[in-house]
Every structure is written in structure tokens, then in C-alpha cells.
Symmetry: C2
Subunit: 199 residues, 2 copies
Amino acid sequence: MSIPTIKFYVREGLLPAGELTSPNQASYGETHVQRLRLIRALLDVGGLSVASIREVILAIDDPERSVHKLLGTVAAGLVPRYDRESHAGIEDARKQVAALIAARGWRVQQGNPASEALAVALAAVDEAGHGAFTEVLDAYADAAERVARVDLDYVAREVAREELVESVVVGTVIGDAIFSALRRMAQTDASDRRYGQST
Amino acid sequence: MSIPTIKFYVREGLLPAGELTSPNQASYGETHVQRLRLIRALLDVGGLSVASIREVILAIDDPERSVHKLLGTVAAGLVPRYDRESHAGIEDARKQVAALIAARGWRVQQGNPASEALAVALAAVDEAGHGAFTEVLDAYADAAERVARVDLDYVAREVAREELVESVVVGTVIGDAIFSALRRMAQTDASDRRYGQST
DNA sequence: GATAGTGGCTAGTGCCACTATCCACACATT
DNA sequence: AATGTGTGGATAGTGGCACTAGCCACTATC
């Protein structure tokens, strides 16, 4: 980790400045190193932008913020920015999402970034001519519920707040990357079993 | 969709040039529009780079390529590039991944990009001081298997090759985005049920 | 007293997805 | 005939982002 990069992070508000033990020696304690590791994990593995990480860091350092709101902040940081919402079937997709939320009994806000992202993705699928894809939504939702329960169980095992908020971040951001990798591996396996011989 | 953008895609090899009906009028048929929608979906929703999309397009247009290999190509395009493999515990993580593959009986190659990505993510988690996270791996793997089965079922419903390869792409790339969104929604719901009242 | 470190600042780099402009060409309109 | 419009092909420029380099005044250490 080069010095200019650390200076950059400090400037961007991701990292507190080192505490001056003497005017030319700043001590970067264990918390700094820990924070740096978190930043790198969010940046490299989670794929978050620096701006999103700043939001997450602010949420972590705000003791007033509840765990629930923290998770919302992290989730918002994960959602990529969809400039062009000019999709044709976005309204239909939104209704579909609302129906799914109702059917599942999920307590999710209407304008939630995640549900909006889902609507955009569904609209894109539909536009690409794969409307039948919606039939797998239920199976996906089942699996998602299962994963989310595991995630929350993992978060709940922590007691100290500092540990807990980091668990939330790790469990959502890095967990996303881990699950995606596992999914691709499972797909590879399933594909090998079905189509592997025909090559 | 602006003309310069289309020209850019043609230049990058994502899109075949329009067929000249007359020297100053090119006709972009339905296949072109379909291809454009696919590109936009992979770019906006899937988050793939133009270079990755080119690989995917080449795989789609190569009739010799088997479905299994096509899925491998798509999966490879999804994996972000990890420049710095200089993680400390990467070797331990690789062993952990190998153990998981063996325990699951997955037919996954050793140097698979997905399993490598998993190793990097696990190493990052461990480095961030959340080694206990590995305990959720099994639950994740269960859910991933379930999702992968649904994905392959969806792909298998198609008969024509052209439809099939597009299903593979949609089912993996866009499916990833859809599942991530669902996961965040389920997490929001689960979090609300556990911590929502305490705010 | 030269060195090397500090925070703070401005500006530059490299990558990437476009985007703008220019080119020679050919038909269509005026 | 003259002009305009559209084609593919090419080069170069734009804007955003994650750094990265260098300068500044200052100061404890070698």
C-alpha cells in the first residue's frame, strides 16, 4: 500500500489522518490498518466506487445509525447507477416487482434502490425477448430468502457494535462476490453434467 | 441509440456492419436490433466491459462452440480482473475452495476463474478479520446449487441454438443482477424484522 | 544541516466507454 | 451541374474515475 494512495484515501474521507506522535511521524494504528483492509476489500472484491465507500464509512462511524439503516446504506452503495431509465417496459416490470414483494410479504420500501434495480433488470430481460425468464423469479426469491437468513444469522452473532457493522458490510458486499462465484461454479458443474459429454 | 455509438460497436466487433441496400443507405435488420439490445443489457445491467462482450459475441457466433464452453466463456467474462493476487492467505483460501469442490462433488476445473475469484474473496474476508464467515459457505453453496439448477432448466427449455445461446447469456449475466437485487431485498426484509423496531 | 517524514494542495496519468470530426465516395435532390 | 445527405473507416478528443506525482511549509531525527 503506497503512501500516495493512503494520502488519497485520507483526502477522500475514507480514512482518518494518522495521529501525530511527533510532527514527522504519524502512527497508523491497528484500526487504520483494519480500515484500509476494509477499503481494499470493498474496492477490489466488492467493486464499490470510492464515493460509495465514503457513504459506507460515514454510516459505520455514525453511532446513531441503526443496523437496519446501515444495511440500507450498504445496499444502496452496491446498486450500480442506472442513468437511462428510459426502458420501454419499466412500468410493467415495476408492477411485477410490486406483485412479487406482496406475494412474498417482504417489508421493502417502494422506491428501494434494490427493487428499482430489479425492475430495470427485468425490463432488460423482457426487452431482449426472454419474457419467460420471469418464471424463475420465484425460485430465485426462495434462494435469496435462504441466503439472506444466513447473512443475518452471521451478523447477529456479533455483539460489539464495531464488529457488527463490519459484519454487515462484509456479509453483504463480499458475500455478494462470494455467492456470485459459487453460482458460476455450480452452473459450470450443472452444465458439465448436462452438456459436457456432447463436446 | 446514437449513430456514433453504433459505429463504435461495429468498430469494436460487437455488431456486424449494416448491409448496404444502396451506397448511402444501410439496412439494420431485426437481428441488428436484437444484438444491440443484448449488448446494452450486458453493458448496463450485467456490467460487462466491451472487451468481455466481444468475447461473448464471438462465442455466440461460433456454431462450433458447445453450450458448455459458451457458458464457460460467459462466466469468464463476468469475473472481474484481479490484478493484485498478492493476498497473504490466498493459498489457504485456494485449499479451502478445493476442499469445498471436493465435498460438493462439483466438476469444476482447478484454475477456473470463478473458483479463483472465490479464493480471492475468501482471502479478503479472512484478511479483514472475519474468518468465521467461512461457516456460511455451505449454506451459500446449497443456494447456489439450487439457483444453478433453475438456470440450466431455463436454458434447456430452448431448442433452437440461436435462442439457446442467448438464454445462456441472459440466464447467467442478467440472472446475476436479478439475484443480487433479490438478495438485497430479502436482506432488507430480514433486517427490518430483526432490527427494524429498534430504530 | 541535510534527510525524510507530515498534511494539504494542484495537476497529471491511464483506462475506458463513448463522441466528434474528417475523409472519400455515391446517390438524391435542386 | 451543384449541393446535400448518408455510408464505412479512421483518428483524435471527452469525461469520469482511481490513483499518482510533485510541490509546499514545517519539523524531528541522523
